[in-house]
């Protein structure tokens, strides 16, 4: 994410290293200008002229998502307003074997909505109707372009809200959340998008419109919705999403605790969880992250803290009251030298301001940085933080740590100055080594930002060829021609329809040297 203060990137080639013509990185297939022209013609037939973009300058405004070091100008951008329009474009893509990429608000951090130079970018930002708020059913039905926070705003007067709260919730879309299975600070208690999406109207890569799940739970048949959520746009596009609404908690209590070290703060975290308390959120920042936040937003966190915890409890007032005292006690027992308790919404916002600004704030202390996203078992936290510190000191690359301590989701910010020869490469190395640490400790290469194009190459470190092959059986069922967001998630596309003992002519992807037959 380019800002006045720096360039935010994530693990992967640094800015400028990926040119659109770099076919290995972007998964280009053979040129198909006739197909593209046919899809554009069809788009102009079904969409308003203003919703079909072919002008190069305007196309370029869609060249990247929140991971701005990958940039590809799409051949065509369409902004459908209805399910029928969207399905018609996808059907044309299927007919003419043109790849397509869906995009909501374009805030993703793994390049999941990176366009294809030979494909269509299907943008859902003109599908922004909140169709229904059904309080009695604890559901909302919304279009995919609806902004995450707007669902909550629409449900507030009913006493409800939409629980998943990615930090981009003021601009990210529900469709994008569905594709990425977005999390947020409060998923420790409430779960992720996948636990809150109960139904979707869905356009398959063939252009068919199907209903997955619905207002009621437990639809008979395979839980296709469960696999679609988090599939990063590789199985199709949601055109309407039914979500659970959650009752607004009666009480919310937030505290900020200052500790001498991340070890102490980690000890307090383990003690709280070990006591059977499930806070709505437990967030940790280390000294370098605090320094950045102070520089950016003057959050006035405790002086001299080696680490701070932001802990939030919510629920029935009487429960929160009781557990909050216990949380304070555990913080004190583990060496908290200062505890601040928010007594109203303004004070709560003040406590959260430092945490929420942390990613962008790092731009104040470093010209460039990589936002990493990895997960470890929570109990491995002290060991992994020490290992990250060692990596940092041995490489001379500074790392600021901001993370969801309650569920072991780390967001190390790897700092570098791209104007210094070799600094970008050194940062990449440290960033990659942090992912290796996560894998070594039985964790994951991504907790919420997704695999996208950024981490596809890391997938074989976490999964065997057989695991990835099996996942791609689902891909083959939905999208045998690999038209939906190709090149994302999986490092090597699987060829579909190859049954042992039955040989066909070489698949176009094999001919192009882009796929291997399993």
């Amino acid at each position: 994410m380019t800002s006045a203060h720096g360039t935010e990137t994530t693990a992967g080639p640094i800015p400028g290293n990926v040119a659109p013509e770099d076919t290995a990185a972007t998964g280009e297939r053979g040129a198909n200008p006739e197909g593209m022209a046919a899809v554009a013609r069809r788009a102009r037939e079904v969409l308003a002229p203003t919703n079909v973009i072919t002008d190069h300058t305007r196309l370029r405004t869609y060249e990247c998502d929140g991971l701005a070091n990958y940039r590809v100008t799409p051949a065509l951008v369409v902004l459908p307003e209805t399910t029928e329009q969207l399905a018609a474009v996808v059907r044309a893509c299927a007919e003419h074997l043109v790849p397509f990429v869906a995009r909501g608000s374009g805030t993703g951090l793994s390049g999941g909505a990176l366009p294809r130079a030979d494909g269509v970018l299907v943008v859902t930002s003109r599908m922004r109707a909140i169709r229904e708020i059904r309080r009695a059913d604890q559901r909302a039905i919304v279009e995919p372009g609806v902004i995450n926070l707007d669902v909550t705003k629409a449900a507030t007067s009913s006493g409800y809200y939409y629980a998943p709260d990615p930090s981009s919730q003021q601009i990210c879309s529900i469709g994008g959340n569905l594709a990425e299975n977005s999390g947020g600070a409060h998923c420790l208690k409430y779960g992720f998008t996948t636990n809150h999406v109960v139904g979707a109207e869905f356009v398959t890569p063939a252009g068919d419109v199907v209903q997955l799940g619905g207002l009621a739970t437990d639809a008979p048949g395979y839980d296709l919705l469960g696999v679609v959520v988090g599939s990063e746009g590789t199985l199709g596009v949601a055109t309407s999403v039914t979500v659970r609404l959650v009752r607004q908690p009666e009480e919310v209590r937030t505290l900020l605790a200052g500790f001498a070290s991340t070890d102490d703060a980690g000890g307090a975290t383990s003690a709280i969880i070990g006591a059977g308390i499930v806070p709505a959120a437990i967030e940790m920042m280390d000294a370098l992250a605090i320094e950045a936040a102070e520089a950016a937003v003057q959050c006035n966190y405790p002086d001299g803290a080696g680490a701070v915890l932001v802990i939030e409890l919510d629920g029935a007032a009487i429960e929160v009251e009781h557990e909050f005292r216990e949380v304070e006690r555990h913080c004190n027992d583990h060496g908290a030298f200062e505890i601040r308790v928010a007594t109203d919404a303004t004070e709560r916002a003040l406590i959260w301001r430092g945490r929420k600004s942390a990613f962008a704030a790092v731009g104040r202390i470093s010209p460039d940085y990589i936002v990493q996203d990895g997960v470890i078992p929570r109990t491995a936290l002290p060991e992994v933080l020490r290992a990250i510190a060692e990596l940092s000191s041995s490489s001379g690359v500074r790392v600021a740590n901001v993370f969801h301590a309650g569920d072991g989701n780390l967001h190390p910010l790897v700092l570098f100055d791209d104007s210094v020869e070799g600094a970008g490469d050194a940062a990449e190395k440290v960033s990659g080594a942090i992912l290796d640490l996560c894998i070594k400790h039985g964790g994951s290469i991504t907790g919420e930002h997704g695999v996208g194009i950024d981490k596809a190459a890391y997938m074989p470190k976490m999964f065997t060829d057989e695991d990835l092959d099996t996942m791609q059986l689902v891909r083959c069922a939905f999208d045998p021609n690999a038209l939906a967001n190709p090149g994302k998630v999986f490092p090597t596309p699987r060829l579909c329809g190859e049954v042992p003992g039955r040989k066909k002519a070489a698949h176009p992807l094999v001919e192009a040297g882009l796929a291997e037959a399993f």
Partner: protein, 422 residues
């Protein structure tokens, strides 16, 4: 299978797995008699067994504790039962991380004993006594606790499966927060063994609550049930369960479960009593049949699962009452389930007339569908199964068929047991 083929298959299976036995009548899968039972003790052995079965074109039905072998439709063929009861080890309970890694043959109740030692639980109710972890995943059974904790799909964070071709694959992992790759755990949850054999699972756990109270009240009619359920779910009592037990044509009991810390539970219970009103009672112990399905203990009773938008409760109960009264006396329809989640299970007396049951299924299926849900006949006597469409209409069936075709192109895993003849 022909005797020669069977002998050949058996000798290959015996080299794949320590123990292979001839199937007894008790091994029948919903009336379909298998030839052999393999008893693998590890995922690798399941893999070898599946390869051997593939080489000999054998159809396979996976079995955990065998408590739900008659659920779904009878398979068109079942040559081999793969019994996972020897894979009964809880591999690791990482209490500090609130996760458990277990083999699929472990009993759900046995797993609870292990994790309760650290004050934790897997928030999945044992709805069928003796059920295994693998069978619980494959049928996605759920009980009262789903209102607060969700169902198997929400708690399963990692899974290892063996495909029909013997390939071993895993998805997810050992951490709760993880978006790397497709969530195959959700795909196999509730798939009735038609996609792959589940051999290992990792779940997230929850702390056992320090205190609990059960608040119950008799409800006289569907309108009152609706009103009380709505007030319970919209209130600030954060219920762990909102259950109803309804005898169609009569009346029922509504029960709200409150879990949490001692002082917190006291306060919330007082609020709940106020909401449920006069006549409500408070207990510390759960009712004896709290987690069981309404057909428990009735051999081959018709077992229904109905879902609907939460606000559809009143309409559903009303239609059930009317149908039970009009269709036949003695149909004995009892509905029990999570009113707070829009899920009710139904039992119909085993000796009820098959045509009357079929008419009831049609009628309530129409109601469920109109209320945004579905109605499934989970189990029934053969003559009832012959008279009903067990799964009913299913959305996105073509996509499901394509998924099945990719995972099991020869249709050797529990063929015909699932939706649309899958």
């Amino acid at each position: 299978m022909a005797t020669g083929t069977l002998e050949a298959a058996r000798s290959v299976l015996e080299s794949a797995c320590d123990d292979v036995t001839e199937a007894a009548p008790a091994d029948a899968v919903d009336g379909v008699q298998p030839a052999l039972v393999a008893w693998p003790a590890a995922t690798e052995q399941v893999s070898e067994v599946m390869r051997a079965a593939a080489a000999h074109g054998m159809t396979v039905v996976a079995r955990g504790s065998g408590t739900k072998m008659s659920w779904g439709r009878p398979p068109s063929r079942a040559d081999l039962v793969v019994d996972l009861s020897r894979m009964d080890a809880v591999l690791e309970h990482a209490a500090g991380d609130l996760i458990v890694d277990t083999q699929a043959g472990v009993g759900l109740a046995d797993l609870q004993v292990v994790v309760s030692g650290a004050g934790q639980r897997l928030s999945v109710d044992e709805t069928v006594p003796g059920a295994s972890i693998g069978g619980t995943i494959a049928t996605s059974t759920s009980g009262p606790g789903r209102v607060a904790a969700g169902t198997v799909r929400d708690l399963l964070i990692g899974v290892t499966v063996v495909r029909a071709d013997g390939v071993v694959a895993k998805a997810g992992g050992r951490v709760v927060k993880n978006v790397a790759g497709y969530d195959l755990g959700k795909l196999v949850t509730g798939s009735f063994g038609t996609l792959a054999v589940i051999t290992q699972a990792v779940f997230r756990l929850h702390p056992l609550p320090a205190a609990r109270r059960v608040v119950s009240v008799e409800v006289a009619d569907p309108a009152q049930a609706q009103r009380l359920v709505q007030s319970a779910i919209h209130a600030q009592i954060v219920p762990a369960a909102v259950e109803i037990d309804w005898h169609a044509g009569g009346s029922g009991t509504l029960t709200v479960l409150i879990e949490g810390t001692g002082p917190g539970v006291d306060g919330r219970t007082a609020t709940a009593v106020g909401l449920l009103g006069q006549g409500s009672t408070v207990a510390e112990e759960l009712p004896a049949d709290w987690t069981s399905y309404p057909w428990a203990g009735q051999e081959r009773a018709t077992a229904l699962k109905a879902t609907f938008a939460i606000s559809g409760l009143e309409r559903f109960l009303r239609d059930a009452d009317a149908a039970a009264t009009e269709l036949a006396s003695g149909i004995g329809l009892r509905l029990k389930g999570s009113a707070g989640a829009g899920v009710l299970y139904g039992s119909v007396a085993a000796d009820a007339d098959a045509a009357a049951v079929a008419a009831l299924v049609d009628r309530l299926r129409r109601t469920s569908t109109e209320l945004g849900g579905a109605l499934v006949v989970l189990d029934a006597a053969p003559e009832v199964k012959a008279a009903v469409d067990s799964w009913g209409p299913v959305n996105a069936l073509d996509l499901m068929r394509q998924v099945k075709a990719e995972f099991d192109p020869e249709h050797r895993l529990a063929p015909g047991r699932f939706v649309g003849g899958i």
